[in-house]
Symmetry: C2
Subunit: 434 residues, 2 copies
């Protein structure tokens, strides 16, 4: 559920890309056209994400990108997938290339229930699964169905930049809840809810990435999981559990999703982007029975139906391939890269910096001393040949952030070391100047 | 851009499907859950389309479905497409299965400009094309960017049911403008705008399907096209031109899209669903330069990026296949089916009924005598072995409609004749009872 672009054909020159970042940071200037008066109130809230721009820069030759959380697809059996794709079109092309049902195919929805069973959700029914154009779209639909302008969505601080973009597009007020090393702090969540309710706010959703949070890599502790759901249930807040990385745990014990024991309280978002491949844009929502109809209709009103061919390819993959073995392979790759990053941080980073140690997923979250703003450091880092995402991207606040996100998923171990070395040089220089 | 499902795996029993239609026609009843209080105001506006239910029924064996506007894909070169798909994944799988740019690939956007050139739009630039998850999604984004709740969108009466669903999901006020045999009547459009402006309404968009309108089959006359744009420009209303069928003209002279001579005034929506295949869900918007950025960002916030593989397959198809020849083939098929339908109507329909004669596209629009409501006739028609879509689906009004839509695109000529014969029997019975 990260939103990385690696479209080489579109890579602008670095100077242009840097300009683009600056444009995004300030408001856009444009000659007035009478149509300007026609934009919806929400359109003003839809901003260019700084993250997006950085991905184009990431293509600069010689540059190490620790920005993009793209999965590493080299281990996929491409030749075999090619044959499967051909088979689907040759034998079943009239279905694969035709309109399909708005909720997704029955076959894939049943298989998705098996994927979720591997996570610990054992009671999911295909009829409560809605297949969407990537998990981002599932999140968009959830916001559409529940949030009026001015309603509140609670999020972890930090949280996924794409989720923030979606919420802001619906003019939702995003309220953050602090995390510690075990994720969301229940007492702080409770206090935040109480304060918002006292202020007369309508809180609709708690959006959480409990496993290997993007961007922090932090995992919500086992003992807190039920507590969080109970707090939300009591306050009549729906939990929107976003779990694209859950199966990519390479350390520690698997934890049950919040949805597992709480079928009526949680909308669970899943994705094939990290456990198979993002380019097919197939995600899903598992929706409580009493919310399924509204959710499904809203999804259908946006895209009519998810692409039939893509669903059939995922179905064939889950049916005929060792998809769990592929996840093992992914786990091995990411475990190695995570270890390389942690070792590089240990080796290169200056005193006064700290970072998280994820048990899975794609990201490490680095904290610099108070008072440092990582946003202006990005330009220096690019000049030094490394890219990261400044922490400010992952919070609704406009305040400067002394955090930054490093992604190791798409980068070989030796390049990770070199990238961190370059970054550390930039940081050392700036920390010395403090 | 119709929203037909032919997912055989999901076909309910006819009795259940008929129940579903009735459920859709009345409001849904459900045991109250505290979450009911959480729905957004817009969620209440997102309704089950009667059309959707009918498609499931259409699968009943022996039944002739004149309901679904699915394209007829049997003439596609499936074996060759299978090989192309395999080639893309085998040789370029790391791109095809990875995240891509939010606007779509540069290659496909350039090719889309060539497709639009075949329609008469000669000045389109790839940078102003935004590729979307089907044209439905492009329309959703346009509404998102321009419409606040309570804003007005003008539409032809009748218009595409999927567009109505989208507008209603944004709590837009949909105002209809009457058509005659030459489409939208400029004088009536002007009067409607004046009346709405006098009432203090904010009119944002005119949504129009100028070629072979869905559902009516009516085409906007050549001499009216510039008039319509001029009227909208004067009133600062953006024209949202939806043209999925434009290249499927099998009679009469091609007409320039409204966009052709009016690059700053029209957002043009195109689709590969009718000229290639709908199952890939690839559509696009050609957006005026001054609106591109906002439109693109809103699109990205919904789905991150369109599926890379699907875009690459469409690109290969446009690059390596005789796509114009395939359109010729489609034209031939639909011309024959349209002729079969018109002949069947001539042969079977009772006195007092009238219908349109489309020059392209998929649909014929039938008008029964005043006072007849086609909605309750649907059940009788299903019992007689034929399905159509009642006219009420294609207008925002809750009034009964004496119209119905017949689609000939997916049905062989002999079945068209039999379907119309069955329908005529039902109508004759009901007209006699008047």
């Amino acid at each position: 559920m990260t939103h990385e672009t690696l479209d080489a054909a579109e890579a602008p020159l670095p100077a242009e890309a840097i300009d683009a970042i600056e444009r995004a940071a300030t408001s856009a200037h444009r000659a007035a056209h009478p149509h300007e008066a026609l934009f919806s109130a929400r359109a003003a809230n839809i901003k260019q994400s700084a993250v997006r721009d950085v991905f184009d820069i990431s293509l600069r030759p010689g540059l190490v990108s620790l920005a993009g959380g793209s999965p590493y697809l080299q281990s996929l059996p491409l030749e075999r997938l090619a044959a499967t794709a051909a088979d689907i079109i040759a034998k079943d092309g009239l279905t694969a290339l035709q309109y399909g049902g708005g909720q997704g195919t029955e076959e894939l929805r049943a298989q998705i229930c098996e994927v979720m069973a591997a996570e610990g959700i054992l009671d999911a029914l295909p009829q409560n699964v809605v297949i969407t154009a990537g998990s981002q779209s599932a999140q968009d639909v959830a916001t559409k169905v529940f949030c009026n302008p001015g309603d509140v969505v609670l999020v972890e601080d930090p949280t996924y930049v794409g989720a923030l973009n979606t919420f802001e597009a619906y003019q939702v007020e995003v309220a953050t809840v602090e995390m510690d090393d075990d994720g969301l702090v229940p007492e702080l969540l409770e206090a935040r809810i109480a304060a918002l309710q006292t202020a007369g706010k309508n809180i609709k959703l708690l959006y959480t990435i409990p496993n290997f949070n993007n961007p922090s890599g932090i995992t919500l502790g086992a003992e807190r999981r039920q507590q969080i759901v109970d707090i939300c249930r009591k306050a009549n807040i729906i939990v929107l559990e976003d779990n694209p990385y859950g199966l990519l745990r390479y350390q520690g014990q698997p934890l049950e999703p919040l949805r597992a024991a709480n079928p009526a309280d949680v909308i669970y978002l899943g994705s094939f982007s990290k456990i198979f491949a993002p380019g097919l844009r197939i995600g899903w929502a598992l929706v409580p029975d009493h919310l399924q109809r509204r959710y499904y209709l809203a999804s259908e009103s946006v895209t009519l139906c998810p692409p039939a061919f893509n669903q059939m390819l995922v179905s064939a993959y889950l049916r005929d391939y060792d998809w769990k073995g592929q996840i093992e392979t992914y786990r091995g790759i990411y475990a190695e890269r995570c270890a390389a990053m942690l070792a590089a941080l240990e080796k290169h980073m200056p005193a006064g910096t700290a970072w998280t140690s994820p048990e899975g997923g794609f990201f490490v979250w680095v904290t610099l001393p108070e008072g440092v703003d990582t946003y202006p450091l990005l330009k220096q880092a690019i000049d030094a040949g490394v890219v990261f995402i400044p922490g400010a991207a992952f919070t609704p606040s406009d305040e400067p952030s002394n955090k930054l996100r490093l992604a190791f998923s798409a980068v070989p171990p030796e390049a990770i070391d070199e990238g961190v070395r370059r970054l550390a040089g930039v940081l050392r220089e700036n920390l010395a100047a403090l």
